[in-house]
Every structure is written in structure tokens, then in C-alpha cells.
Symmetry: C2
Subunit: 245 residues, 2 copies
DNA sequence: CGGCAAATTGACTCCACTCAAAGGAGGTGG
DNA sequence: CCACCTCCTTTGAGTGGAGTCAATTTGCCG
């Protein structure tokens, strides 16, 4: 966090136009259900950021809400600082996922959002997006869809689960999200620290270590530092599922 | 739950038109930022339900998603059943609050929603709402605003809190919501059972009893069965606040 | 009045936390 | 290139807050 403490400045400084039609995320991101013509229209409101270094923030709690951001590459976490000065990790964001929906109602960002890897995002003026959504029903639908998904996921994460269930779920979630982004679902990198995972899952850092070690000695995963390999997907899913039915 | 197990039927059977302009919830509900003319337009897509008895469901997990519902009177809870057959209470809804946002993305209700008191709702075809939202920017804004608020609240409830903090928060939340609906913020009814509260807060039923008793003997609240009086609002807020800042 | 579910209270248990310490990994500067 | 520092992670030992189990009380409704 130290390297970029100097300033809260409005982001997306470069206004680089971006071709969504060329983007590998096409079918994961907001314009996924737009046709070629509509996509071109959409591109006019998208600003690609310069590369963002690990530890660099794209939103700060208290910032005026103007834009949402679509992750283009890398990984972000969002977090708040509670009254005890403790960091609370709210979530992790992978390419194609949209950041900032929690800021709409107060017109102010409540969360800090920081890159965990070298990353880039597409900035979208929320006013422009909503205006365009009035012209493009598909885009409006997609916005509601993504927000609804976000609500569902938060509801699901509110469940009362054991440490093992929580961690298994996170691994399954990441695995699935990597898969739909064309990466391996079996072997991937945990961009976030144990501490971040712990905070996000409301567990202690030590518990993350211990449970990962337990999963490993049970032959379910192989884990070394940030590298994780899922060896027994079925068993992991079994541990994860206290699903709703 | 027993009395109405007979059928999953599409709801809002009566198609009673409703005058939002006359509704006491006017400034809490979806049409809050519409002008007189727009409100009249909006009324055409609203269907008022007949009275709903305690224990009666308005949505069931698995139901096709067609409508969202605005609580008109009473109180609802939403819940899912997990793999162990345990009920997980996701949230409580008071008049003016909107139910069903978690169902949009899958076009299917994931949660069951049941009345806790004698209640009524306004049914809103989601297609009609979104279509109208394209004509009425204020309505579109309001939809995004309410969904965003919902996301924020879920994020906040994900925090890692003690039993006392959780319960204090729920009491504060209810108190505030009653206040903005014109009811007393100092004295109100818990429509939901201890069991529901426990499930929603991820605590044991016994813990709810114990903590409420502790709050009472500390002079912070007076509680008798379903009636709660907040005696020391400041102390309660103090207990509740491990706020984000 | 009687039967039943909800709520309360008490005793004991356990999972995850805290405290503490020891290994790594990576970065920096001499 | 190595020594050093710092942060992250892992492992161990003991504690505590909330859960579980069990029994009792209360309120509700026929």
C-alpha cells in the first residue's frame, strides 16, 4: 500500500478508447448481449485505464461515485476499514466482473478497491451507462442481471458455514470463475494473501493455513504458497456444498 | 406454514389497480421520485394483492421469476433451505421495501418469501417495470439505487461481528426502518420469531434470548416476547457500531 | 383446562481465535 | 553476492464465545 499514498485523484486519466468487439472478455462483460452495432456504440463510453500496479487503488472510500469499473485483466479486492482500524475484505474481482455497484445509492464509494496483481480496468461513467441502457434494452437487462447475481452471491456468502466449508467454497468459486475465463480450473494462482482470504471469509489467517494444510494432507488439493492445484474436485465440491436447494 | 401447502400458483390474482399517489408509502417506494403524471403512468403496471395471512408464501424457491413485489403492509421474511434441510433466513422486509431482486439473473426465485404478519404487497411485472424504466429515467435510477442499497447492506451484514453486535445492529436497523415509515423507533414489534432472528444473524436461538436478556438487564432495552422498547438508544448504537469509516 | 410450540435458562462442549514462536520468500543496500 | 530486514505463512498450545443438549417456563389457542 505504501507506494501510492500520495493522492486521491480521479481515475481513468487517459481516456483510451477500447474495442469491446476485440476484447477477449466479450461474452463475460457488460456488452455481452449487444450486437455488433450496439457494441460499437457502447465502446464510445468505455475508457481503458493504463496498467495498474499491485497495491494501487482505483477507488477509495469517500470518493465521489461517478464510474463503475470492469476488470480487464488482473485481480482486485474491495475492502472497508472498520472502527477498530481493521480491514474487512468484501470481495475479489476477476476479469469481466464489475466493480462499484455498492456505491450507486450514496453516490459515494464506501469501499476501497485495490489491485492485487498488475491489472487494468475499463472505466464506465455510470450516467453514460444508464443513459445508454435506456436505448439498449439488452444492456439494461445485463445491468440488472449482474447486480442481481451480485445480490445472490452475497446472500449465499452470508450462510453460516464452517471454516472448511467456506474455504472449499472460495476455491470452487475461483475455480469456476477461472474456467469461464478460459484459464485452468484445476490449477491457478491465489493473487490474494492468506490474510485477505481470512478477512473475506471471516476467519483467522491461521485458520486458512491450517485448513489448506488439512485439505492437502487429505489429497484434495496441492498448495504451495500462492499456487493451488485442485486434485479431487468432487471432494472439494462435496465439502463446499451446503447448497440451497 | 401448514395452512397453504396446497399449491404453488402464480400470485397477485386479483389485479386490483392501485393509486400510488394515495399510498402512504409514496416517498419510500419505487415511484418516490416520479412526478404526478409519471406516477399515474406507473400505477398502470402495479397490481395490489389481497391480504396475505401470516405463514402464506408469495414466492417459492423454484418459481419462475416474473414479478418483483413491493411490501405494502406487514412484514415478510425470505429464506432458503440448505442441504441439511435447515432454514436460512436471508432477510426481513418492511413496507416500501422491494422483494425479488435476487431472482432476476436466473429468472427463477431462489428464495422463499413468507408473510410474518397479515400483510399485503404490490406486484410489479419486472418486464413492465424495466420497460417503463427506459421511458422514465427517475424510475431507472431508483431501481439501481435500491439494488445498490441492497448490495451495500448485504456487504455490511457480512462483517465478522459478535453476537451482541449483530443483535444490536438488527435492533438499530429495525428501529430506523420503522422510524422512516412513521412508526415509533423506540418501541416496536418483532414480527419474526427468535428462531428467525437467529437464523438471519447466524446465531443460535438460545443466543438471541440470552443477549436480549443481557441487554435488558443492562437497561438498554425492555423486551417482552415480541414487544421491544429501546431505552438507551445511544448505548445500543454504541454496541452496534463497528461501522465502516 | 389441556396441549403444544416458542422462549428461556443452565451445564457442558467444541471450533475457531488468540498468543507465541519459528520458518520461508523477497527486496534492499552495502 | 551476501547479509539483513520485513512481511507472509505455518505450526503449536491454550482460551473463550457461541453452540449443543437438556430441562423448564411461558404464552397461545382450541
Amino acid at each position: 500500500m505504501g507506494s501510492e499514498n500520495q493522492k486521491k485523484k480521479p481515475y481513468f486519466p487517459e481516456r483510451v478508447q477500447v474495442a469491446c468487439s476485440q476484447c477477449t472478455l466479450g461474452n463475460l462483460c457488460l456488452p455481452r448481449s449487444l450486437d455488433a452495432l450496439e457494441t460499437e456504440q457502447f465502446e464510445h463510453i468505455v475508457n481503458k485505464s493504463r496498467p495498474i500496479q499491485p497495491g494501487e487503488h482505483i477507488f477509495r472510500a469517500g470518493d465521489k461515485f461517478q464510474s463503475i469499473a470492469a476488470v480487464r485483466a488482473g485481480c482486485f479486492k474491495s475492502y472497508v476499514i472498520d472502527k477498530n482500524g481493521e480491514e474487512q475484505v468484501l470481495g475479489f474481482y476477476l476479469p469481466g466482473e464489475i466493480i462499484g455497484f455498492d456505491a450507486i445509492h450514496e453516490k459515494t464509494h464506501r469501499a476501497n478497491v485495490v489491485a492485487l496483481d498488475t491489472s487494468s480496468v475499463c472505466g464506465l461513467s455510470f450516467d453514460s451507462v444508464t443513459e445508454m441502457a435506456r436505448q439498449l434494452p439488452q444492456l439494461q437487462d445485463e445491468l440488472f442481471r449482474v447486480m442481481s447475481l451480485h445480490i445472490s452471491e452475497l446472500e449465499a456468502s452470508a450462510a453460516d458455514l464452517s471454516a472448511e466449508e467456506r474455504i472449499a467454497r472460495l476455491l470452487c468459486s475461483l475455480s469456476g470463475r477461472f474456467a469461464s475465463r478460459g484459464y485452468s480450473s484445476k490449477e491457478f494462482n491465489l493473487s490474494m494473501s492468506r490474510r485477505d482470504i481470512a478477512s473475506n471469509l471471516r476467519l483467522a489467517t491461521e485458520t486458512i493455513s491450517r485448513v489448506l494444510a488439512r485439505f492437502q494432507s487429505a489429497g484434495i488439493i496441492r498448495v504451495n504458497r500462492k499456487k493451488v492445484a485442485i486434485l479431487e474436485e468432487d471432494k472439494l465440491k462435496e465439502l463446499a456444498r451446503r447448497d440451497t436447494c
